[in-house]
Structure formats: C-alpha cells, structure tokens
Amino acid sequence: MALTQTEPYRYDLHDPDVRLMLQVRDGNAAAFEELVLRYQNRLLTILEHLVGRRDQAEDLAQEVFMRVYRARGRYEPGAKFSTWLFTIANNVAINALRNRGRRKEVGVPERSNGSDSSPLQLDQLAKATSAYMPTRRLEKTERAEMVREAVKALPERQRMALLLSKFEGMSYQDIAQSMDLSVQAIKSLLSRARVNLKEILTPYIEQGTKPEDLPRSASFEEASPDEELDS
C-alpha cells in the first residue's frame, strides 16, 4: 500500500542523530557522548560568533547539552536532531544575551550621540568604514577580526539566522523552526542581515582597508523596532 501524504515523517528512520537521541532516552550514556562529539564544534561555532566570547560560548554550549540531557526522558522526534538542538541553543543564547544586555544597562552610560538602536549603529559603522582611509592592506587575522566585529554589530536575531544559514547550511524552513518564526520572517531577517553585513563590509571589500577605530558593537542592544516581525 502506498504511503499517504498525511503520514507523519519518520525522523528516526532518516536522521541517525535522532536515533542516537532515542538511545539516550533509553539510558545509553555512550550515545550521548557520541552526540556531544558530533555537535560540540558546530554548536561552539554558532555560539562563539553569536556571543562574541569563547569562554561564554563554552558555558552556553554546556548548558545546551545539559538541557538536551535533562529533556531526554520526554524526547519525541518531531524534527531533525540538529533543528531541535539549535532551537535549544537559540533559547539559551538569546536569554544569555538579554541578561548581559540588562546588566550592561545598569553599568554603562548612554553613548554621547544618543543612538540607541541597532540600525542606527549599523549606519554609523558603515559610514565609519567609508570615512577612514587607512594605508595598509588587511592581514588575514585583521580581516577575520573585522568580519567578527561586523557580525557582532548585527541585531541578535539577524545574527543567529545568518550564522545558522552560513555555518549550518540550514534551510529557511529549519531556521524558522529553530527560531520559532515564520519562513517569511526568516527570509526578511536574512535579507536584512546580509544587506547590513554588505553595508559594513563593502568599503573593506572594495578598498581592502580597515578603519583605525570601529564604533562600539551594537551586539547586545535591544532589538530594533523594525525587527518586530509579523510572523
């Protein structure tokens, strides 16, 4: 008998990591270690570029693995394992970024130019890149540092969507599931992320130069109003 369209997708048949997680659910510790080994680099890559600090990324990655372990008893495969894992990672990271943002509000005075939203700061970052005329070519490490700063300057949701797309090669559908947004919202979010990135990096790409002083990152500012998507 042919399968019908309404039959649920069997992730356990198609995703070996789902099968490993089901073994974890059944109490297999070795299966959990295998999952950690398979995902630790991928998770750290996303989290390190998301929060901008290696030590915090490691703490968050361990928190994500702990949550996976705690959730083992009620695990039901309703998505690819990676999508489920990065859903947890997104929640953990966003909470951490917002906690950092709140702490920062207490201790750091307002910037003198009064700008308080990410897009404005992105504009300033882009203008600053155009205004300076440095004299030497970028070294590879400097280039990496500059790209890191550009990524940090993106609002957190744009950054997350961008990183999942770039480093995980996730489809819009999977990113939408991980970030609990609609596919159209992800399409819009990624478009703005890539345009913002282009605005910041184009001067470097075209001139191969780096400004002497980048404005402070907007990484941990509150999300701008234009990020409130209709999802």
Partner: protein, 169 residues
C-alpha cells in the same frame, strides 16, 4: 492581480529576492526570473555580487574547535547530573514507600477505631433497650392483668390512677 515576480520594485524586496536566490530558496520560476533580470540589469547584477562578497567574507571566521577538556567537562557535568537524578529518584522512591506505609498504618488505625466503636455500639444495644423498657418490665405483672389498652385508658379517665400520675410528675 500582479505576478509576484514582477513586483520587485522596492530595494527591500529586491534584496529579499536576491538573497533567497543566493540561498537556493527560490522555486524554479522565481529563480529564472531573477536570472533573466541579472542578465539584463547591471545594477541588479552588481547588487548580487556585493551581497555574495560580503557573505563570502564570513568564511574568514572559520569553525570553532572544541578541545578535549571541553568534551570531558561536558560529560562530567552530565555524569553529575545523572547522579543527582538517580539520588533524587531514590529519594522519591523512599518518600513514596514511607507515604504508602504511613497511609496504610493510618487506614488500619482508623479501621480499628471504627470497628471498636461499632462493636461497642452493638454490645450496648441490649442494655439500652433494657433501660428504655425498664418501667414496663417493673410492672409487667400488672400489665398482664389488663385485658386491653382501651380498658386501661377508660380507668385512667375515671381517675383511678391519679395518685400514680402525680407520682410520675
């Protein structure tokens, strides 16, 4: 109704379409439309190149590499968590056993009390009946001499028992 492919008028819509094209997220018809426009429109083409170049620069970031200590500390944390879970589970089992024992004891005690009260009540029932019937028992010989209740009531109306009624009062 306008075709979705012919409404790429705003910069934002154009960027969305170009990014979706670069990400391979357009269907065949939409991708073909973008490709036709790329062939015809130098500005459109330049925009695509800029977006792609910025995207390619992300390659300089590279993947993170977890060292062995990270794996070990993660597994150690999980082992501690598993131990805590097991301890909590044992504690819960002990608590449940204690509650079950306490509940059974309380039920047994309650049943014993109820049984005692019931038995005592049953045992006292004949005595209560004797006390209640005592006035009749004391005069049972007199009552046997009476032919009927109506006859007795008639005598009472005639004042024959006035002294006894007065004593009772």
């Amino acid at each position: 109704m306008t075709d979705d492919h012919t409404t790429l008028t705003t910069a934002e819509a154009i960027d969305e379409q170009l990014v979706a094209y670069l990400d391979g997220e357009l269907d065949d018809a939409a991708a073909a439309h973008v490709e036709r426009r790329l062939a015809d429109d130098a500005t459109f083409r330049a925009r695509l190149v800029q977006l792609q170049q910025a995207w390619d620069m992300l390659d300089t970031l590279g993947p993170a590499d977890a060292d062995e200590s990270f794996t070990h500390s993660t597994m150690a944390m999980v082992a501690v968590k598993a131990q805590e879970d097991a301890t909590a589970q044992n504690q819960m089992v002990r608590t449940r056993r204690w509650l079950a024992w306490a509940g059974a004891s309380a039920l047994t005690l309650a049943a014993a009390c109820a049984g005692y009260v019931l038995v005592r009540s049953q045992l006292e029932q004949p005595n209560r009946e004797l006390v209640r019937d005592l006035p009749v028992i004391e005069r049972v010989d007199d009552y046997r001499a009476i032919e009927s209740v109506e006859f007795l009531q008639r005598l009472e109306k005639e004042g024959l028992f006035a002294a006894e009624v007065e004593d009772v009062r």
